[in-house]
């Protein structure tokens, strides 16, 4: 392959006149394989060297589908000092935060310790990732805020991690993934919701995760593109489970953020849930109100990937149902499906809605003044 890059990246202009925005889905990466070791007990360092990490599904040496671009990332996002995309704070500042005037950046680390079969190792890795987020990112740039990564399959240790971090202003949400061993409403995950509600922290559910089940509801697909669109189906199952198992009823102050799975499907899922609930209500008597009510009251949505219909009115109709106060702008930096802030929203949006979309909703939800 004849891939070439410029010798030096174009320097972003340090001064910007752009309006401040929030970016609610940024993926920080580790520069080296052992970067977490300082935050891991010797026992786990040794364990990793000898036994490695085992997820709930096989063939995990690489992801089940190669991701279109190296590290699923923008090809222009390699830091000049080396390392994978997203692994350098200074380059992230120069390429993303400064030129786009990002006032609040929410970090969602992937490839953490979630979905690992050894639950003690899972908890240790998640805790290490949380320390690392403070050390390497949030303590060095006040615009950045971290997500508490938890060992999702063990609700109790996950809740303990949340309680330990509660009140620490470096963190603004708890992070789960959409694919787990069981649908997210199941009892085993309730301690996570309870601890998050107590701490006043929203729970973000990011697309991906390796729960040992096929990555689409109809089995293993042939193509990566099917995995990409499958994220919305997966998120729909997770959301239906949260409503129908009674999570929102049981934890009425819980706030959930659906991250990186689109939102155009939300109204139709809610309509379908409402209609079916009217007929089958007695099966789930703990669901006391129409499902759409819980969804509209307790769920927020990040924008990347944003639906891009031919008629912008179609997009506006969907957003109107969801509420302009429910969308959180996100770029997904440094990943390849990155959304450029200045290019995602079509014309015809009022100043107040634009402000809410790009910044206001996020500041309110995450409690940033």
């Amino acid at each position: 392959m004849n891939i070439q890059f410029r010798e030096s990246q174009e320097a972003a202009s340090p001064l910007t006149t752009k309006t401040a925005i929030a970016d609610c889905d940024i993926h920080p990466a580790r520069a080296t394989r052992t970067e977490l070791y300082p935050y891991l007990a010797k026992r786990w360092q040794h364990h990793l060297e000898v036994y490695g990490v085992h997820a709930y599904q096989g063939m995990m040496e690489g992801p089940p589908y190669p991701k279109a671009q190296p590290n699923a990332s923008r090809r222009d996002a390699y830091p000049p000092e080396g390392g994978p995309q997203g692994s350098s704070l200074s380059f992230m500042q120069q390429q993303l935060l400064d030129p786009n005037n990002v006032q609040l950046g929410v970090l969602n680390p992937l490839n953490t310790g979630q979905g690992i079969r050894n639950h003690e190792l899972s908890a240790a890795l998640c805790s290490a990732i949380n320390d690392w987020q403070i050390d390497k990112w949030t303590s060095k740039d006040k615009r950045l805020k971290a997500s508490i990564v938890v060992g999702n399959e063990d609700g109790l240790s996950a809740a303990a991690e949340i309680r330990e971090r509660a009140g620490d202003k470096n963190f603004v949400q708890v992070l789960l993934l959409s694919r787990n061993v069981e649908p997210l409403g199941q009892r085993r995950y309730w301690p996570i919701y309870q601890a998050a509600e107590e701490a006043g922290l929203p729970v973000g559910v990011h697309a991906f995760g390796f729960g040992g089940n096929p990555i689409t509801p109809s089995g293993w697909p042939s193509y990566y593109i099917e995995e990409m669109v499958g994220h919305s189906q997966c998120q729909q199952s997770a959301l239906a489970s949260l409503v129908l198992e009674g999570v929102f009823e049981r934890f009425p102050k819980l706030k959930m953020v659906m991250i990186e799975a689109g939102f155009g499907w939300a109204p139709s899922l809610a309509w379908r849930l409402d209609k079916t609930w009217q007929r089958l209500r007695s099966e789930v008597p703990h669901v006391k109100r129409p499902p759409s009510e819980y969804i509209r009251e307790q769920v927020w949505w990040t924008t990347q990937p944003m639906e891009d219909p031919e008629r912008r009115e179609d997009l506006f109709d969907v957003i109107k149902w969801i509420g302009w106060d429910r969308l959180l702008f996100a770029t997904d930096y440094p990943h390849w499906d990155y959304d450029e802030p200045s290019r995602v929203l079509p014309a015809g949006v009022s100043e107040a809605n634009r402000e809410a979309f790009y910044l206001g909703n996020a500041k309110k939800l995450y409690g940033i003044s």
């Binding site: 891939i3 890059f5 090809r75 222009d76 390849w336 499906d337 959304d339």
Partner: protein, 137 residues
């Protein structure tokens, strides 16, 4: 239409590309197997520096199961979302009706004609005895 001297030919062997700014426009010039092409280095989709992407071929299929791979090294794939453009024409293969990136003719001229012709040689000292890559815009 101004013609700009980009580089002496021997500084741009096949397989290389050169990035420059002309009249405030970001341009990239490619040497592909001895042919030269100029493209606007800004993706019409969301504005990435398009020409930093890899050069690939064109995968097409008449029927499921039949794949033809042609134009090897002539399709540029955007470093952000992977949209594909034909480097010869700037045509998009993802949404050809709506998107095209501006293509600029580029070719080689002998030094003698460059020196006397209507060329703008911004930073390249031009000598009569060598050949130069020239782009028009």
């Amino acid at each position: 239409m101004a013609r700009h001297v980009i580089a002496p030919v021997d500084e741009m062997p096949p397989g290389t590309r050169k990035f420059l700014e002309i009249d405030g426009r970001p341009i990239a010039v490619f040497n592909i197997k001895g042919e030269y092409f100029g493209l606007m280095n800004r993706c019409p989709h969301q504005g990435a520096a398009l020409c930093e992407g890899p050069l690939i071929g064109l995968a097409q299929s008449k029927d499921p199961g039949e794949i033809e791979y042609t134009k090897l090294g002539e399709i540029i794939r955007c470093p952000w979302h992977g949209w594909e453009f034909d480097i010869r024409t700037g045509q998009s293969y993802c949404d050809p009706r709506r998107f095209r990136v501006k293509a600029y003719p580029a070719h080689v001229e002998p030094g003698a004609s460059v020196v006397k012709g209507p060329y703008v040689a911004e930073t390249i000292p031009v000598k009569v005895e060598s050949d130069y890559v020239v782009v028009e815009l």
